[in-house]
């Protein structure tokens, strides 16, 4: 009995040590960025883990030094794109998910198959073609670029309906039927019954589509090309690490990274639950 107990304690200690070591490994880069963002010495090459002296100048420079890399401008650009693409995508995703979950129509199955097949194509394959198409309608010049990006981010949104559809599937259909007997139209059922019951998934959809423009960088780069005025935050941060800027901007990059990570981290931690539910809904099938 006693030996079994010591064995258990020993196992417990080992497990906790392993977890602690792993947690340190996983958190190390994050601590490192936070420390770098407060570091007073310039440049990307350091000899110590902890900075020699601390400063807030990096954050200040990010918002005041607008001559080469205009961070405030990039921030507003991204904010505008994020707000509009989030409205459009949320509308698309929710309406498509509702139709597929609740209504039966002829191209329902074909649509779901089409979404699956399109998902197998590498997304970057058609990127050049999207650029040509947007160019042909004149959306790739100057101040129309944000519009082009909004369309890019929200245009394909309706193909990732699975999580929202999984959620709608869990709402009992008898509620809809009762409302229909009382004379509701499908539209009224959608807006007055399903949507109010789906607060979590609406929040989830809004947040994910709001975050996308902040973290996407490939599409933004291809569409913006050399139009520095229209850069989004992600391209700006990428630029700061290029050879000609890295010496002066490295610590500012860390500051910018911390700034956009904080809100996203908070959002992510809060909606973790929906993320898991949505995915495991798919796995349980």
């Amino acid at each position: 009995m006693n030996s079994a107990k010591t064995k258990r304690t020993r196992n417990n200690v080992i497990v906790h040590i392993i977890l602690a070591v792993l947690a340190v490994i996983w958190l190390f880069p994050i601590f490192w960025v936070i420390l770098t963002s407060f570091r007073a010495e310039k440049g990307s090459y350091v000899s110590t883990f902890f900075p020699k002296s601390y400063t807030l100048a990096n954050y200040k420079k990010l918002f005041t030094d607008t001559t080469i890399l205009n961070f405030p401008r990039m921030f507003t650009n991204t904010l505008i794109i994020a707000v509009f693409s989030c409205i459009l995508s949320t509308f698309f995703v929710l309406s498509v998910a509702y139709c597929l979950s609740r209504l039966r129509f002829k191209f329902r199955k074909p649509y779901m198959n089409m979404a699956m097949i399109l998902g197998l194509f590498p997304g970057f394959m058609s990127m050049v073609a999207v650029y040509f198409i947007l160019k042909a309608v004149g959306l790739t010049e100057g101040s129309l670029i944000p519009l082009a990006l909004i369309l890019c981010y929200s245009g394909g949104a309706a193909l990732s309906f699975q999580i929202a559809k999984g959620f709608f599937d869990t709402i009992p259909i008898s509620i809809d039927e009762a409302a229909m007997i009382d004379g509701c139209t499908h539209w009224q059922v959608f807006t007055k019954i399903t949507l109010p019951l789906s607060r979590p998934i609406i929040i989830y959809t809004i947040l994910t589509s709001f975050i996308a423009p902040w973290v996407d960088f490939i599409f933004a780069k291809v569409i913006c090309r050399a139009n520095a005025d229209q850069y989004t935050v992600a391209i700006g941060l990428w630029k700061m690490l290029e050879k000609e800027y890295i010496d002066n901007w490295y610590t500012c990059f860390a500051a910018g990274a911390v700034l956009i990570s904080i809100p996203i981290a908070i959002l992510f931690l809060r909606m973790q639950k929906y993320y898991v539910d949505g995915l495991s809904g798919g796995v349980k099938g």
Binding site: N12, W26, S44, F49, M125, G156
Partner: protein, 458 residues
């Protein structure tokens, strides 16, 4: 009762031949003059709309549509020329043909024709329905009633049309466009960036030919892509599962804290953490400097994280574990908790230890339940652009003649071919082949899985 039946018949979707056979003269004439039947059945606004659409379509086709379609065959042949203008004493440029625009216009026209056909068919149905209702002597819906039905039984069409429009314009049209490019010589090679022609399957032949530079690169990149996808998927899967089991053990304290530690790293935007990793692992980056300071490697030397092919490949796989495990942890925790507890209790009674339990209960159950998830992850890893592009950028390039580095996947190579090298046709072929490999692969594995063959049999 009879009327109800009739109206039900009217609501079902009759085929076109059925409509033309059993429809009256009005309906048959409507095939030529859209909306005529509606007009005659007192659906004036609806009929006028259909008619207006037909007139607009015909006008459009005559003015530019047929021309664009005809150009599609040759993709244009008039090069841009310099012409000396005597009056102004300058060289003027004549407007030459631009093959990409001709191709885009042609595809656009084809889409419009398809769209018109869909509208035409809907028109025929609506005329037929109106005629059937009229014949039965029941009420033909008015325009306001039609509009109202858009929010009721026709709601799917209302709600799906705007998203569908954007999917067609921004996803399907570009895809078809790129697929078309795979059959042209649109490439910097041979200077075909303005004018190009159809070349049939020649690009596919080049890529399958192992002796050519591009062909050799293709097979090498394909092999590495599969190796990468395999390791990236399974290292994450097992590591995430073991971590989830460790955290969720009965005796583990402060579970929430441990989970928070790992989840925090996937809350940081992926491109930020990948860029940080990249700068840390440079020859003069933080990791090498610290290793030198500690004395693990001699001063002045550095570990070749991204400069040696084998090192680079292992580095990207290891860092992918760092990036991916928190997600796997989140996703698998729920599934693990779903394993029926009595299985473990029975095993304990039989005297199985934890390792045995893991291999004979946990693993089989997890494989059984998560096969679709594994297939999806494998597919996502084959198309995993971010990790490779942001970490190594495909480096190191050991074979200078080829266009791909040693860690380039098919997708990152595709990106390099199109955006950097402007070999659009080859890039498109690579994209198509990636799709074919993924589609065939996932179909075959999915069909062979237990969860497909015997649904819910565990």
């Amino acid at each position: 009762m009879k009327e109800k039946n009739r109206s039900y018949v009217g609501r079902s979707n009759p085929s076109l031949s059925q409509i033309l056979q059993s429809g009256g003269t009005k309906t048959r004439l409507s095939a030529l003059v859209m909306g005529l039947g509606c007009l005659l059945h007192k659906q004036v606004i609806k009929g006028a709309l259909y008619l207006a659409i037909e007139i607009a379509f015909v006008m459009f086709m005559i003015r530019s549509g047929f021309h664009s379609l005809a150009m599609l065959a040759g993709l244009g042949s008039v090069p841009q020329k310099e012409v000396w203008n005597e009056e102004l004493q300058v060289y003027l440029y004549t407007k030459g043909d631009q093959s990409i625009l001709i191709l885009l216009n042609g595809l656009g026209i084809i889409m419009i024709i398809v769209l018109f056909f869909v509208i035409w068919r809907a028109g025929m149905r609506s005329v037929y329905r109106a005629e059937m209702l009229d014949r039965a002597g029941s009420h033909v819906p008015s325009f306001t009633e039609d509009l109202k039905s858009l929010l009721d039984e026709n709601l799917p069409y209302t709600l799906m049309t705007p998203p569908m429009f954007f999917i067609i314009v921004l996803t399907i049209l570009p895809l078809i466009y790129m697929i078309c490019m795979a059959f042209t010589n649109y490439s910097k090679i041979g200077n075909h960036l303005v004018l190009f022609d159809w070349v049939g399957l020649r690009n596919f032949a080049t890529l399958f030919d192992r002796s050519s530079v591009l062909g050799g690169t293709f097979w090498k990149v394909l092999l590495w892509t599969l190796v990468w996808a395999f390791f990236a998927t399974f290292t994450n899967y097992f590591f995430g599962m073991i971590l989830a089991i460790l955290i969720n053990r009965k005796d583990t304290k402060i579970k929430g804290f441990w989970r928070f530690c790992f989840v925090l790293s996937c809350a940081v935007p992926m491109f930020v953490s990948l860029l940080i990793m990249r700068t840390m692992l440079q020859p003069e980056g933080a990791v090498n400097v610290m290793l030198r300071n500690v004395g693990l490697i001699p001063a002045g030397s550095s570990l070749p994280f991204f400069t040696n092919a084998t090192w680079a490949r292992i580095t990207v796989i290891v860092i992918n574990i760092w990036v991916g495990v928190p997600y796997t942890l989140l996703q698998l925790t729920g599934v693990l908790q779903n394993i029926p507890a009595d299985l473990y209790e029975a095993a304990e009674v039989d005297g199985a230890n934890q390792v045995q339990q893991f291999f004979s209960i946990t693993l089989p159950y997890m494989f059984y339940v998560t096969t679709p998830y594994l297939i999806a992850t494998f597919t996502a890893n084959v198309n995993n652009f971010n990790v490779i592009y942001l970490l190594s950028g495909g480096d190191p390039v050991t074979n200078l003649a080829s266009t791909a580095g040693d860690t380039d996947l098919l997708v990152t190579w595709l990106y390099k071919l199109t955006i950097e090298k402007q070999y659009y046709n080859i890039g498109a072929v690579v994209g198509i082949l990636t799709f074919v490999i993924l589609a065939v692969g996932s179909l075959l594995t999915y069909r062979n899985t237990k969860s497909y063959k015997e649904e819910g049999g565990f």
